[in-house]
Amino acid sequence: MIAFLQACANGLLTGALYALIGMGLALIFGVQRIVNFAHGAFLMVGMYATFLLFDKLNINPYYGFMAAGVLLFTFGYLLYWVLIKPVQNKSPFMQILMTTGIALILTDGAQLIFGADYHQTNIELINRTLRYGPFSLNAASLLSFGIAGVLIVALTMFVRRNLTGQALRAIAQNPEVAPLMGINVLRIQGLSFALGTGLAGLAGGLLLPALYLFPGVGEDYTTKAFVIVVLGGMGSIEGAALGGLLLGVAESLTSLYVGNQWALVVDFALFLLVLSFKPSGIFGRQRA
Protein backbone atom coordinates (compact mmCIF):
# COMPACT_ATOMS: atom_id res chain seq x y z
CA MET A 1 0.00 0.00 0.00
CA ILE A 2 2.79 2.36 0.92
CA ALA A 3 4.56 1.48 -2.32
CA PHE A 4 1.34 2.17 -4.20
CA LEU A 5 0.84 5.58 -2.62
CA GLN A 6 4.48 6.44 -3.08
CA ALA A 7 4.22 5.55 -6.77
CA CYS A 8 1.08 7.67 -7.09
CA ALA A 9 2.83 10.62 -5.48
CA ASN A 10 5.83 10.26 -7.78
CA GLY A 11 3.45 9.94 -10.70
CA LEU A 12 1.74 13.19 -9.78
CA LEU A 13 5.10 14.96 -9.57
CA THR A 14 5.98 13.89 -13.12
CA GLY A 15 2.39 14.33 -14.18
CA ALA A 16 2.39 18.05 -13.40
CA LEU A 17 5.15 18.57 -15.95
CA TYR A 18 3.32 16.33 -18.41
CA ALA A 19 0.29 18.52 -17.82
CA LEU A 20 2.30 21.59 -18.78
CA ILE A 21 3.55 19.89 -21.95
CA GLY A 22 0.07 18.64 -22.75
CA MET A 23 -1.54 22.04 -22.24
CA GLY A 24 0.99 23.51 -24.63
CA LEU A 25 0.05 21.01 -27.29
CA ALA A 26 -3.64 21.42 -26.49
CA LEU A 27 -3.29 25.11 -27.40
CA ILE A 28 -1.74 24.15 -30.72
CA PHE A 29 -3.44 20.88 -31.65
CA GLY A 30 -6.59 20.83 -29.56
CA VAL A 31 -7.58 24.42 -30.10
CA GLN A 32 -6.22 25.17 -33.55
CA ARG A 33 -6.01 21.71 -35.07
CA ILE A 34 -2.42 22.21 -36.10
CA VAL A 35 -0.88 18.76 -35.96
CA ASN A 36 2.37 19.64 -34.23
CA PHE A 37 4.96 16.88 -34.41
CA ALA A 38 7.65 19.26 -33.24
CA HIS A 39 6.41 19.69 -29.69
CA GLY A 40 9.12 17.49 -28.20
CA ALA A 41 11.73 19.37 -30.22
CA PHE A 42 10.50 22.67 -28.74
CA LEU A 43 10.83 21.10 -25.32
CA MET A 44 14.37 20.06 -26.16
CA VAL A 45 15.25 23.62 -27.24
CA GLY A 46 13.89 24.86 -23.91
CA MET A 47 16.09 22.36 -22.11
CA TYR A 48 19.21 23.41 -24.02
CA ALA A 49 18.47 27.10 -23.39
CA THR A 50 18.13 26.46 -19.67
CA PHE A 51 21.22 24.26 -19.68
CA LEU A 52 23.33 26.89 -21.44
CA LEU A 53 22.28 29.53 -18.92
CA PHE A 54 23.28 27.13 -16.14
CA ASP A 55 26.50 25.98 -17.75
CA LYS A 56 27.83 29.31 -18.99
CA LEU A 57 26.33 31.88 -16.62
CA ASN A 58 25.68 29.62 -13.64
CA ILE A 59 22.00 30.54 -13.53
CA ASN A 60 19.93 28.06 -11.55
CA PRO A 61 17.51 26.13 -13.82
CA TYR A 62 14.67 27.16 -11.53
CA TYR A 63 15.26 30.72 -12.69
CA GLY A 64 16.52 29.80 -16.14
CA PHE A 65 13.31 28.06 -17.17
CA MET A 66 11.57 31.42 -17.37
CA ALA A 67 14.10 32.65 -19.92
CA ALA A 68 13.53 29.44 -21.87
CA GLY A 69 9.81 30.12 -21.81
CA VAL A 70 10.26 33.65 -23.16
CA LEU A 71 12.69 32.44 -25.80
CA LEU A 72 10.37 29.69 -27.01
CA PHE A 73 7.39 32.06 -26.98
CA THR A 74 9.21 34.47 -29.28
CA PHE A 75 10.52 31.64 -31.41
CA GLY A 76 7.06 30.12 -31.70
CA TYR A 77 5.53 33.44 -32.70
CA LEU A 78 8.04 33.94 -35.50
CA LEU A 79 7.80 30.32 -36.57
CA TYR A 80 4.04 30.61 -36.81
CA TRP A 81 4.20 33.44 -39.30
CA VAL A 82 7.01 32.00 -41.38
CA LEU A 83 6.27 28.28 -41.55
CA ILE A 84 3.05 27.30 -39.77
CA LYS A 85 0.58 29.80 -41.21
CA PRO A 86 1.16 28.57 -44.79
CA VAL A 87 0.02 25.06 -43.80
CA GLN A 88 -2.61 26.04 -41.27
CA ASN A 89 -5.58 25.38 -43.52
CA LYS A 90 -4.06 22.50 -45.42
CA SER A 91 -4.47 18.80 -44.82
CA PRO A 92 -3.07 17.15 -41.66
CA PHE A 93 -0.70 15.41 -44.09
CA MET A 94 1.07 18.68 -44.89
CA GLN A 95 1.06 19.86 -41.29
CA ILE A 96 2.66 16.63 -40.14
CA LEU A 97 5.31 16.93 -42.82
CA MET A 98 6.02 20.56 -42.01
CA THR A 99 6.28 20.04 -38.27
CA THR A 100 8.31 16.85 -38.71
CA GLY A 101 10.67 18.87 -40.88
CA ILE A 102 10.94 21.54 -38.19
CA ALA A 103 11.58 18.86 -35.57
CA LEU A 104 14.35 17.30 -37.65
CA ILE A 105 15.98 20.68 -38.21
CA LEU A 106 15.86 21.53 -34.50
CA THR A 107 17.03 18.12 -33.28
CA ASP A 108 19.82 17.62 -35.77
CA GLY A 109 20.70 21.31 -35.57
CA ALA A 110 21.16 20.90 -31.82
CA GLN A 111 23.29 17.85 -32.50
CA LEU A 112 25.41 19.80 -34.96
CA ILE A 113 25.95 22.68 -32.53
CA PHE A 114 26.18 20.90 -29.18
CA GLY A 115 27.20 17.39 -30.23
CA ALA A 116 25.55 14.13 -29.23
CA ASP A 117 27.02 14.09 -25.71
CA TYR A 118 24.86 13.63 -22.67
CA HIS A 119 24.85 16.51 -20.21
CA GLN A 120 23.87 16.51 -16.60
CA THR A 121 22.77 19.50 -14.60
CA ASN A 122 24.27 19.27 -11.15
CA ILE A 123 22.36 21.30 -8.64
CA GLU A 124 22.34 20.39 -4.98
CA LEU A 125 18.56 20.34 -4.79
CA ILE A 126 18.43 17.22 -6.93
CA ASN A 127 20.14 15.13 -4.24
CA ARG A 128 17.90 16.27 -1.44
CA THR A 129 14.93 14.19 -0.37
CA LEU A 130 12.07 15.24 1.82
CA ARG A 131 10.71 12.56 4.13
CA TYR A 132 7.32 12.34 5.69
CA GLY A 133 6.69 9.14 7.60
CA PRO A 134 7.36 6.25 5.23
CA PHE A 135 7.16 8.51 2.17
CA SER A 136 9.97 10.36 0.48
CA LEU A 137 9.87 12.91 -2.29
CA ASN A 138 12.67 14.45 -4.29
CA ALA A 139 13.03 18.13 -3.46
CA ALA A 140 13.75 19.21 -7.03
CA SER A 141 10.74 17.33 -8.39
CA LEU A 142 8.60 18.85 -5.67
CA LEU A 143 9.73 22.34 -6.61
CA SER A 144 9.03 21.64 -10.30
CA PHE A 145 5.63 20.33 -9.29
CA GLY A 146 4.87 23.51 -7.35
CA ILE A 147 5.94 25.80 -10.19
CA ALA A 148 4.05 23.73 -12.75
CA GLY A 149 0.96 23.86 -10.53
CA VAL A 150 1.08 27.65 -10.39
CA LEU A 151 1.54 27.86 -14.16
CA ILE A 152 -1.35 25.46 -14.79
CA VAL A 153 -3.69 27.47 -12.60
CA ALA A 154 -2.55 30.73 -14.17
CA LEU A 155 -3.12 29.39 -17.67
CA THR A 156 -6.55 28.06 -16.79
CA MET A 157 -7.50 31.44 -15.35
CA PHE A 158 -6.14 33.16 -18.44
CA VAL A 159 -8.17 31.02 -20.79
CA ARG A 160 -11.35 31.38 -18.76
CA ARG A 161 -11.27 35.00 -17.61
CA ASN A 162 -9.01 37.02 -19.86
CA LEU A 163 -10.56 38.46 -23.00
CA THR A 164 -7.74 37.12 -25.19
CA GLY A 165 -8.12 33.71 -23.56
CA GLN A 166 -11.83 33.75 -24.28
CA ALA A 167 -11.16 34.72 -27.87
CA LEU A 168 -8.86 31.74 -28.05
CA ARG A 169 -11.58 29.40 -26.88
CA ALA A 170 -14.07 31.02 -29.21
CA ILE A 171 -11.82 30.15 -32.16
CA ALA A 172 -11.58 26.61 -30.86
CA GLN A 173 -15.33 26.30 -30.74
CA ASN A 174 -16.14 27.88 -34.06
CA PRO A 175 -13.46 29.34 -36.31
CA GLU A 176 -16.03 30.58 -38.83
CA VAL A 177 -18.09 32.66 -36.43
CA ALA A 178 -15.22 33.92 -34.28
CA PRO A 179 -14.08 36.56 -36.81
CA LEU A 180 -17.66 37.82 -37.07
CA MET A 181 -17.46 38.59 -33.35
CA GLY A 182 -14.59 40.94 -34.05
CA ILE A 183 -11.81 38.53 -33.16
CA ASN A 184 -8.60 38.93 -35.08
CA VAL A 185 -8.21 35.22 -35.77
CA LEU A 186 -4.73 35.33 -37.22
CA ARG A 187 -3.32 37.32 -34.34
CA ILE A 188 -4.92 35.09 -31.75
CA GLN A 189 -3.78 31.94 -33.52
CA GLY A 190 -0.24 33.20 -33.72
CA LEU A 191 -0.43 34.03 -30.05
CA SER A 192 -1.83 30.67 -29.08
CA PHE A 193 0.84 28.83 -31.08
CA ALA A 194 3.48 30.93 -29.34
CA LEU A 195 1.89 30.23 -25.95
CA GLY A 196 2.00 26.52 -26.76
CA THR A 197 5.67 26.56 -27.67
CA GLY A 198 6.38 28.84 -24.70
CA LEU A 199 4.82 26.27 -22.38
CA ALA A 200 7.00 23.59 -23.97
CA GLY A 201 9.99 25.81 -23.22
CA LEU A 202 8.96 26.30 -19.59
CA ALA A 203 8.35 22.58 -19.16
CA GLY A 204 11.72 21.84 -20.75
CA GLY A 205 13.46 24.10 -18.27
CA LEU A 206 11.69 22.48 -15.34
CA LEU A 207 12.43 18.98 -16.62
CA LEU A 208 16.13 19.67 -17.10
CA PRO A 209 17.40 18.82 -13.60
CA ALA A 210 15.66 15.44 -13.66
CA LEU A 211 16.97 14.25 -17.04
CA TYR A 212 20.13 13.69 -18.98
CA LEU A 213 20.21 16.19 -21.81
CA PHE A 214 20.91 15.13 -25.40
CA PRO A 215 19.51 16.28 -28.76
CA GLY A 216 16.97 13.46 -29.04
CA VAL A 217 15.62 13.94 -25.53
CA GLY A 218 12.37 15.47 -26.74
CA GLU A 219 11.32 12.70 -29.10
CA ASP A 220 9.37 10.66 -26.57
CA TYR A 221 7.60 13.77 -25.38
CA THR A 222 6.00 14.49 -28.75
CA THR A 223 4.03 11.27 -28.61
CA LYS A 224 3.40 11.68 -24.89
CA ALA A 225 1.97 15.15 -25.52
CA PHE A 226 -0.45 13.78 -28.09
CA VAL A 227 -1.48 10.99 -25.72
CA ILE A 228 -2.18 13.61 -23.06
CA VAL A 229 -4.26 15.80 -25.36
CA VAL A 230 -6.27 12.81 -26.56
CA LEU A 231 -6.79 11.58 -22.99
CA GLY A 232 -8.00 14.99 -21.91
CA GLY A 233 -10.28 15.47 -24.86
CA MET A 234 -9.58 17.52 -27.96
CA GLY A 235 -9.88 21.24 -27.52
CA SER A 236 -9.93 21.19 -23.75
CA ILE A 237 -6.99 22.88 -22.05
CA GLU A 238 -8.09 21.89 -18.55
CA GLY A 239 -8.62 18.34 -19.81
CA ALA A 240 -5.01 18.24 -20.96
CA ALA A 241 -3.89 19.15 -17.45
CA LEU A 242 -5.84 16.22 -16.01
CA GLY A 243 -4.62 13.98 -18.84
CA GLY A 244 -1.03 14.84 -17.93
CA LEU A 245 -1.50 13.96 -14.27
CA LEU A 246 -3.25 10.72 -15.22
CA LEU A 247 -0.46 9.72 -17.57
CA GLY A 248 2.15 10.46 -14.93
CA VAL A 249 0.42 8.22 -12.41
CA ALA A 250 -0.22 5.47 -14.98
CA GLU A 251 3.45 5.41 -15.95
CA SER A 252 4.60 5.41 -12.37
CA LEU A 253 2.29 2.51 -11.43
CA THR A 254 3.45 0.53 -14.48
CA SER A 255 7.06 1.05 -13.45
CA LEU A 256 6.23 -0.26 -10.00
CA TYR A 257 4.18 -3.31 -10.92
CA VAL A 258 5.35 -4.33 -14.38
CA GLY A 259 8.78 -2.85 -14.87
CA ASN A 260 10.39 0.42 -15.70
CA GLN A 261 10.97 -0.39 -19.35
CA TRP A 262 7.25 -0.93 -20.01
CA ALA A 263 6.15 2.52 -18.88
CA LEU A 264 6.33 3.87 -22.43
CA VAL A 265 4.26 0.99 -23.74
CA VAL A 266 1.50 2.08 -21.39
CA ASP A 267 1.42 5.48 -23.09
CA PHE A 268 0.64 3.90 -26.41
CA ALA A 269 -1.74 1.33 -25.00
CA LEU A 270 -3.74 4.06 -23.26
CA PHE A 271 -3.68 6.10 -26.43
CA LEU A 272 -4.99 3.32 -28.65
CA LEU A 273 -7.61 2.30 -26.10
CA VAL A 274 -8.96 5.82 -25.68
CA LEU A 275 -9.00 6.47 -29.42
CA SER A 276 -10.76 3.19 -30.09
CA PHE A 277 -13.40 3.35 -27.38
CA LYS A 278 -13.83 6.94 -26.29
CA PRO A 279 -12.42 9.28 -28.93
CA SER A 280 -13.74 12.34 -27.13
CA GLY A 281 -11.24 11.67 -24.36
CA ILE A 282 -11.66 10.52 -20.79
CA PHE A 283 -12.43 13.99 -19.56
CA GLY A 284 -13.90 15.34 -22.76
CA ARG A 285 -17.52 15.96 -23.42
CA GLN A 286 -19.00 14.54 -26.59
CA ARG A 287 -19.11 17.27 -29.17
CA ALA A 288 -21.45 17.24 -32.13
Binding site: F29, R33, V35, L83, P86, V87, Q88, N89, K90, S91, P92, F93, M94, Q95, I96, L97, M98, T100, G101, I102, A103, L104, I105, L106, T107, D108, G109, Q111, L112, A116, P175, E219, T223, F226, V230, M234, G259, Q261, W262, L264, V265, D267, F268, A269, F271, L272, L275, S276, P279
Partner: protein
Protein backbone atom coordinates in the same frame (compact mmCIF):
# COMPACT_ATOMS: atom_id res chain seq x y z
CA UNK B 1 2.20 8.48 -65.22
CA UNK B 2 -1.19 6.92 -65.64
CA UNK B 3 -1.00 6.37 -69.34
CA UNK B 4 2.15 4.33 -69.35
CA UNK B 5 2.70 3.82 -73.08
CA UNK B 6 4.81 1.03 -74.40
CA UNK B 7 7.83 3.25 -74.99
CA UNK B 8 7.67 4.27 -71.36
CA UNK B 9 7.63 0.63 -70.34
CA UNK B 10 10.71 0.04 -72.45
CA UNK B 11 12.31 3.10 -70.93
CA UNK B 12 11.71 1.75 -67.42
CA UNK B 13 13.07 -1.65 -68.41
CA UNK B 14 16.06 0.03 -70.01
CA UNK B 15 16.79 2.03 -66.88
CA UNK B 16 16.39 -1.11 -64.79
CA UNK B 17 18.85 -2.93 -67.02
CA UNK B 18 21.25 0.00 -66.75
CA UNK B 19 20.91 -0.09 -62.97
CA UNK B 20 21.50 -3.83 -62.91
CA UNK B 21 24.68 -3.47 -64.97
CA UNK B 22 26.18 -0.92 -62.59
CA UNK B 23 28.26 -3.55 -60.68
CA UNK B 24 30.02 -4.34 -63.96
CA UNK B 25 31.91 -1.08 -63.77
CA UNK B 26 31.53 -0.06 -60.13
CA UNK B 27 33.70 -2.15 -57.84
CA UNK B 28 33.95 0.19 -54.92
CA UNK B 29 32.24 -1.38 -51.89
CA UNK B 30 31.31 1.96 -50.36
CA UNK B 31 29.64 3.14 -53.55
CA UNK B 32 27.80 -0.15 -53.96
CA UNK B 33 26.59 0.09 -50.40
CA UNK B 34 25.21 3.59 -51.06
CA UNK B 35 23.56 2.37 -54.27
CA UNK B 36 22.13 -0.58 -52.35
CA UNK B 37 20.50 1.79 -49.90
CA UNK B 38 19.13 3.98 -52.68
CA UNK B 39 17.60 0.94 -54.39
CA UNK B 40 16.29 -0.40 -51.09
CA UNK B 41 14.68 2.88 -50.12
CA UNK B 42 13.17 3.14 -53.60
CA UNK B 43 11.53 -0.20 -52.92
CA UNK B 44 10.44 0.96 -49.46
CA UNK B 45 9.06 4.21 -50.83
CA UNK B 46 7.18 2.35 -53.54
CA UNK B 47 5.76 -0.08 -51.00
CA UNK B 48 4.71 2.82 -48.78
CA UNK B 49 3.22 4.53 -51.82
CA UNK B 50 0.48 1.88 -51.97
CA UNK B 51 -0.84 3.00 -48.59
CA UNK B 52 0.42 6.57 -48.28
CA UNK B 53 0.22 7.57 -51.92
CA UNK B 54 -2.71 5.83 -53.58
CA UNK B 55 -4.87 5.30 -50.51
CA UNK B 56 -3.71 8.60 -48.96
CA UNK B 57 -3.15 7.16 -45.49
CA UNK B 58 -0.09 8.78 -43.94
CA UNK B 59 1.45 5.85 -42.10
CA UNK B 60 4.46 6.59 -39.93
CA UNK B 61 4.59 3.04 -38.62
CA UNK B 62 6.02 1.19 -41.59
CA UNK B 63 9.21 0.53 -39.70
CA UNK B 64 7.21 -2.09 -37.79
CA UNK B 65 7.03 -4.24 -40.92
CA UNK B 66 10.59 -3.40 -41.85
CA UNK B 67 11.74 -4.52 -38.40
CA UNK B 68 9.66 -7.69 -38.41
CA UNK B 69 11.27 -8.56 -41.76
CA UNK B 70 14.76 -8.14 -40.33
CA UNK B 71 14.07 -9.79 -36.97
CA UNK B 72 12.01 -12.53 -38.59
CA UNK B 73 14.88 -13.47 -40.88
CA UNK B 74 17.24 -13.73 -37.92
CA UNK B 75 14.85 -15.62 -35.66
CA UNK B 76 13.50 -18.11 -38.21
CA UNK B 77 16.99 -18.89 -39.48
CA UNK B 78 18.07 -19.44 -35.91
CA UNK B 79 15.28 -22.01 -35.60
CA UNK B 80 16.81 -23.95 -38.48
CA UNK B 81 14.73 -22.70 -41.39
CA UNK B 82 16.69 -22.13 -44.63
CA UNK B 83 17.54 -18.46 -45.14
CA UNK B 84 15.45 -17.64 -48.15
CA UNK B 85 12.42 -19.38 -46.70
CA UNK B 86 12.92 -17.48 -43.43
CA UNK B 87 12.84 -14.30 -45.42
CA UNK B 88 9.47 -15.22 -46.88
CA UNK B 89 8.21 -16.41 -43.49
CA UNK B 90 9.27 -13.09 -41.98
CA UNK B 91 7.37 -11.23 -44.70
CA UNK B 92 4.38 -13.44 -43.96
CA UNK B 93 4.63 -12.58 -40.27
CA UNK B 94 4.75 -8.88 -41.15
CA UNK B 95 1.63 -9.30 -43.28
CA UNK B 96 -0.12 -10.96 -40.37
CA UNK B 97 0.97 -8.12 -38.12
CA UNK B 98 -0.35 -5.64 -40.68
CA UNK B 99 -3.73 -7.35 -40.56
CA UNK B 100 -3.86 -6.89 -36.80
CA UNK B 101 -2.50 -3.33 -36.74
CA UNK B 102 -4.65 -2.34 -39.71
CA UNK B 103 -7.83 -3.34 -37.99
CA UNK B 104 -7.05 -0.95 -35.16
CA UNK B 105 -5.55 2.01 -36.99
CA UNK B 106 -7.76 2.19 -40.07
CA UNK B 107 -10.75 3.04 -37.94
CA UNK B 108 -9.02 6.33 -37.22
CA UNK B 109 -8.69 9.29 -39.54
CA UNK B 110 -6.18 12.00 -40.27
CA UNK B 111 -3.73 12.81 -37.51
CA UNK B 112 -5.15 10.09 -35.25
CA UNK B 113 -4.37 7.46 -37.85
CA UNK B 114 -0.80 8.73 -38.17
CA UNK B 115 -0.35 8.83 -34.41
CA UNK B 116 -1.73 5.32 -34.03
CA UNK B 117 0.70 3.99 -36.63
CA UNK B 118 3.55 5.68 -34.76
CA UNK B 119 2.30 4.06 -31.57
CA UNK B 120 2.24 0.62 -33.24
CA UNK B 121 5.81 0.99 -34.45
CA UNK B 122 7.04 2.27 -31.11
CA UNK B 123 5.35 -0.55 -29.19
CA UNK B 124 7.21 -3.01 -31.39
CA UNK B 125 10.50 -1.21 -30.83
CA UNK B 126 9.98 -1.28 -27.07
CA UNK B 127 9.07 -4.95 -27.18
CA UNK B 128 12.17 -5.79 -29.20
CA UNK B 129 14.25 -3.83 -26.70
CA UNK B 130 12.80 -5.69 -23.72
CA UNK B 131 12.19 -9.25 -24.88
CA UNK B 132 14.69 -12.06 -24.78
CA UNK B 133 13.90 -13.61 -28.16
CA UNK B 134 14.95 -10.42 -29.95
CA UNK B 135 18.17 -10.12 -27.98
CA UNK B 136 17.10 -6.92 -26.21
CA UNK B 137 19.08 -3.75 -26.82
CA UNK B 138 22.11 -5.81 -27.89
CA UNK B 139 20.20 -7.18 -30.86
CA UNK B 140 20.81 -10.21 -33.04
CA UNK B 141 23.24 -11.19 -35.73
CA UNK B 142 21.55 -11.83 -39.03
CA UNK B 143 22.32 -14.63 -41.47
CA UNK B 144 24.08 -13.54 -44.64
CA UNK B 145 21.81 -13.96 -47.66
CA UNK B 146 24.85 -13.35 -49.81
CA UNK B 147 28.42 -13.84 -48.81
CA UNK B 148 31.86 -13.77 -50.32
CA UNK B 149 33.90 -10.87 -51.55
CA UNK B 150 31.29 -9.49 -53.88
CA UNK B 151 28.43 -9.59 -51.44
CA UNK B 152 27.54 -5.88 -51.84
CA UNK B 153 27.08 -6.48 -55.54
CA UNK B 154 24.54 -9.20 -54.87
CA UNK B 155 22.73 -7.19 -52.22
CA UNK B 156 22.57 -4.29 -54.63
CA UNK B 157 21.13 -6.51 -57.37
CA UNK B 158 18.58 -8.00 -54.97
CA UNK B 159 17.48 -4.52 -53.92
CA UNK B 160 17.15 -3.46 -57.56
CA UNK B 161 15.08 -6.58 -58.19
CA UNK B 162 12.83 -5.85 -55.24
CA UNK B 163 12.41 -2.23 -56.34
CA UNK B 164 11.48 -3.38 -59.84
CA UNK B 165 8.93 -5.88 -58.53
CA UNK B 166 7.43 -3.22 -56.27
CA UNK B 167 7.34 -0.77 -59.16
CA UNK B 168 5.46 -3.29 -61.31
CA UNK B 169 3.00 -3.92 -58.47
CA UNK B 170 2.50 -0.16 -58.13
CA UNK B 171 1.88 0.08 -61.85
CA UNK B 172 -0.63 -2.75 -61.82
CA UNK B 173 -2.41 -1.30 -58.80
CA UNK B 174 -2.55 2.20 -60.24
CA UNK B 175 -4.41 0.92 -63.29
CA UNK B 176 -6.67 -1.58 -61.59
CA UNK B 177 -10.14 -1.23 -60.16
CA UNK B 178 -8.58 -1.75 -56.74
CA UNK B 179 -6.25 1.19 -57.38
CA UNK B 180 -9.14 3.43 -58.38
CA UNK B 181 -10.95 2.44 -55.20
CA UNK B 182 -7.91 3.47 -53.20
CA UNK B 183 -7.67 6.80 -54.98
CA UNK B 184 -11.38 7.40 -54.45
CA UNK B 185 -10.86 6.78 -50.74
CA UNK B 186 -7.97 9.21 -50.75
CA UNK B 187 -9.98 11.94 -52.43
CA UNK B 188 -13.09 11.58 -50.29
CA UNK B 189 -13.63 8.59 -48.08
CA UNK B 190 -17.26 9.37 -47.26
CA UNK B 191 -18.23 9.59 -50.90
CA UNK B 192 -16.27 6.46 -51.71
CA UNK B 193 -18.19 4.57 -49.07
CA UNK B 194 -21.43 6.06 -50.29
CA UNK B 195 -20.88 4.60 -53.75
CA UNK B 196 -20.31 1.18 -52.27
CA UNK B 197 -16.56 0.90 -51.77
CA UNK B 198 -15.66 -1.12 -48.70
CA UNK B 199 -13.06 1.40 -47.59
CA UNK B 200 -11.80 -0.50 -44.56
CA UNK B 201 -11.21 -3.61 -46.63
CA UNK B 202 -9.45 -1.76 -49.44
CA UNK B 203 -7.18 0.13 -47.08
CA UNK B 204 -6.40 -3.10 -45.27
CA UNK B 205 -5.52 -4.88 -48.50
CA UNK B 206 -3.21 -2.10 -49.55
CA UNK B 207 -1.52 -2.28 -46.17
CA UNK B 208 -1.05 -6.06 -46.35
CA UNK B 209 0.61 -5.78 -49.74
CA UNK B 210 2.73 -2.89 -48.57
CA UNK B 211 3.75 -4.69 -45.36
CA UNK B 212 4.86 -7.81 -47.25
CA UNK B 213 7.11 -5.81 -49.56
CA UNK B 214 8.41 -3.63 -46.73
CA UNK B 215 9.35 -6.73 -44.73
CA UNK B 216 11.29 -8.17 -47.67
CA UNK B 217 13.25 -4.94 -47.82
CA UNK B 218 13.75 -5.13 -44.06
CA UNK B 219 15.17 -8.64 -44.32
CA UNK B 220 17.58 -7.54 -47.06
CA UNK B 221 18.68 -4.56 -45.00
CA UNK B 222 19.16 -6.61 -41.84
CA UNK B 223 21.14 -9.24 -43.69
CA UNK B 224 23.33 -6.72 -45.49
CA UNK B 225 24.41 -4.98 -42.29
CA UNK B 226 24.92 -8.29 -40.48
CA UNK B 227 23.45 -7.39 -37.15
CA UNK B 228 20.31 -5.63 -36.03
CA UNK B 229 19.32 -3.66 -32.96
CA UNK B 230 15.92 -2.13 -32.21
CA UNK B 231 17.26 1.36 -32.83
CA UNK B 232 18.50 0.46 -36.29
CA UNK B 233 15.59 -1.45 -37.78
CA UNK B 234 12.68 -0.30 -35.62
CA UNK B 235 13.45 3.41 -35.25
CA UNK B 236 10.72 5.96 -35.87
CA UNK B 237 13.22 7.87 -38.00
CA UNK B 238 13.10 5.12 -40.62
CA UNK B 239 9.32 5.40 -40.90
CA UNK B 240 9.66 9.14 -41.32
CA UNK B 241 12.41 8.66 -43.87
CA UNK B 242 10.30 6.29 -45.97
CA UNK B 243 7.32 8.64 -45.94
CA UNK B 244 9.43 11.68 -46.74
CA UNK B 245 11.20 10.01 -49.64
CA UNK B 246 7.84 9.29 -51.22
CA UNK B 247 6.34 12.67 -50.47
CA UNK B 248 9.38 14.50 -51.78
CA UNK B 249 9.36 12.54 -55.03
CA UNK B 250 5.60 12.66 -55.33
CA UNK B 251 3.15 10.47 -53.44
CA UNK B 252 0.70 8.59 -55.62
CA UNK B 253 2.98 8.64 -58.63
CA UNK B 254 4.94 5.73 -60.04
CA UNK B 255 8.37 7.27 -60.25
CA UNK B 256 8.05 9.66 -57.33
CA UNK B 257 9.40 7.30 -54.66
CA UNK B 258 12.37 6.36 -56.84
CA UNK B 259 13.24 9.97 -57.58
CA UNK B 260 12.75 10.84 -53.92
CA UNK B 261 15.11 8.07 -52.83
CA UNK B 262 17.79 9.09 -55.31
CA UNK B 263 17.60 12.78 -54.39
CA UNK B 264 17.35 12.42 -50.62
CA UNK B 265 19.85 9.62 -50.10
CA UNK B 266 22.48 11.13 -52.37
CA UNK B 267 21.96 14.52 -50.70
CA UNK B 268 22.34 13.02 -47.24
CA UNK B 269 25.39 11.04 -48.39
CA UNK B 270 26.99 14.16 -49.85
CA UNK B 271 26.38 16.17 -46.70
CA UNK B 272 27.36 13.36 -44.36
CA UNK B 273 30.95 14.55 -44.16
CA UNK B 274 29.94 18.08 -43.25
CA UNK B 275 27.17 17.17 -40.85
CA UNK B 276 28.36 13.79 -39.54
CA UNK B 277 25.68 12.55 -37.14
CA UNK B 278 23.31 15.33 -38.11
CA UNK B 279 22.62 14.18 -41.65
CA UNK B 280 18.86 14.26 -41.01
CA UNK B 281 19.20 18.06 -40.91
CA UNK B 282 19.22 18.09 -44.70
CA UNK B 283 16.02 16.01 -44.64
CA UNK B 284 14.38 18.59 -42.43
CA UNK B 285 15.35 21.48 -44.66
CA UNK B 286 14.23 19.63 -47.79
CA UNK B 287 10.86 18.71 -46.25
CA UNK B 288 10.12 22.27 -45.23
CA UNK B 289 11.09 23.49 -48.70
CA UNK B 290 8.94 20.86 -50.40
CA UNK B 291 5.89 21.63 -48.26
CA UNK B 292 6.24 25.35 -48.94
CA UNK B 293 7.17 25.36 -52.59
CA UNK B 294 6.09 22.11 -54.22
CA UNK B 295 3.46 20.34 -52.15
CA UNK B 296 2.90 17.75 -54.86
CA UNK B 297 6.48 16.57 -54.82
CA UNK B 298 9.07 16.66 -57.55
CA UNK B 299 7.11 14.54 -60.01
CA UNK B 300 3.88 16.43 -59.32
CA UNK B 301 5.60 19.77 -59.85
CA UNK B 302 7.20 18.58 -63.09
CA UNK B 303 3.87 17.27 -64.35
CA UNK B 304 2.27 20.63 -63.69
CA UNK B 305 5.02 22.39 -65.57
CA UNK B 306 4.83 19.93 -68.42
CA UNK B 307 1.07 19.93 -68.69
CA UNK B 308 0.82 23.68 -68.66
CA UNK B 309 3.24 23.92 -71.56
CA UNK B 310 1.85 21.23 -73.79
CA UNK B 311 -1.90 21.02 -73.59
CA UNK B 312 -4.85 23.07 -72.38
CA UNK B 313 -6.04 22.19 -68.88
CA UNK B 314 -8.24 19.14 -68.65
CA UNK B 315 -11.51 20.53 -67.41
CA UNK B 316 -13.51 17.35 -67.11
CA UNK B 317 -11.05 15.55 -64.89
CA UNK B 318 -12.58 12.92 -62.70
CA UNK B 319 -10.03 11.66 -60.26
CA UNK B 320 -6.98 13.78 -60.82
CA UNK B 321 -4.46 11.68 -62.69
CA UNK B 322 -0.96 11.31 -61.45
CA UNK B 323 0.37 13.66 -58.81
CA UNK B 324 -1.79 13.96 -55.82
CA UNK B 325 -2.94 17.33 -54.64
CA UNK B 326 -1.80 17.30 -51.08
CA UNK B 327 -2.62 20.87 -50.37
CA UNK B 328 -6.08 19.90 -49.19
CA UNK B 329 -9.20 21.92 -49.62
CA UNK B 330 -9.44 25.53 -48.58
CA UNK B 331 -11.72 24.93 -45.65
CA UNK B 332 -10.38 22.88 -42.78
CA UNK B 333 -12.44 19.84 -42.02
CA UNK B 334 -13.47 19.59 -38.44
CA UNK B 335 -14.44 16.54 -36.51
Amino acid sequence: MKGLRSWQLWAVLGIAAACASVPLYVRNDYLLQVLFRIALFSALGLAWNLVGGYAGQLSLGHVAFFGVGAYGLAIFTDLGVPRWISMLLAAGAATLLAAIIGRIVFRLRGPYFTLATIAAGEVLRLMATNLKITGGAIGLTTPALFSGQLFWKWFYLAAIGLALITLIINYRVSRSRFGYYLMAIREDEETARAVGIDSLRCKLQSLLLSAFLTALAGALYGSAFQFIIPDSVLALDTSVQIAIITMLGGAGTLLGPVIGAVVLLSASELFKNQFKESHLLIYGILIVAVVLFMPEGIVGALQHLFRRRTKPPDVAAGIAPGGRDLSGSGTPRRS
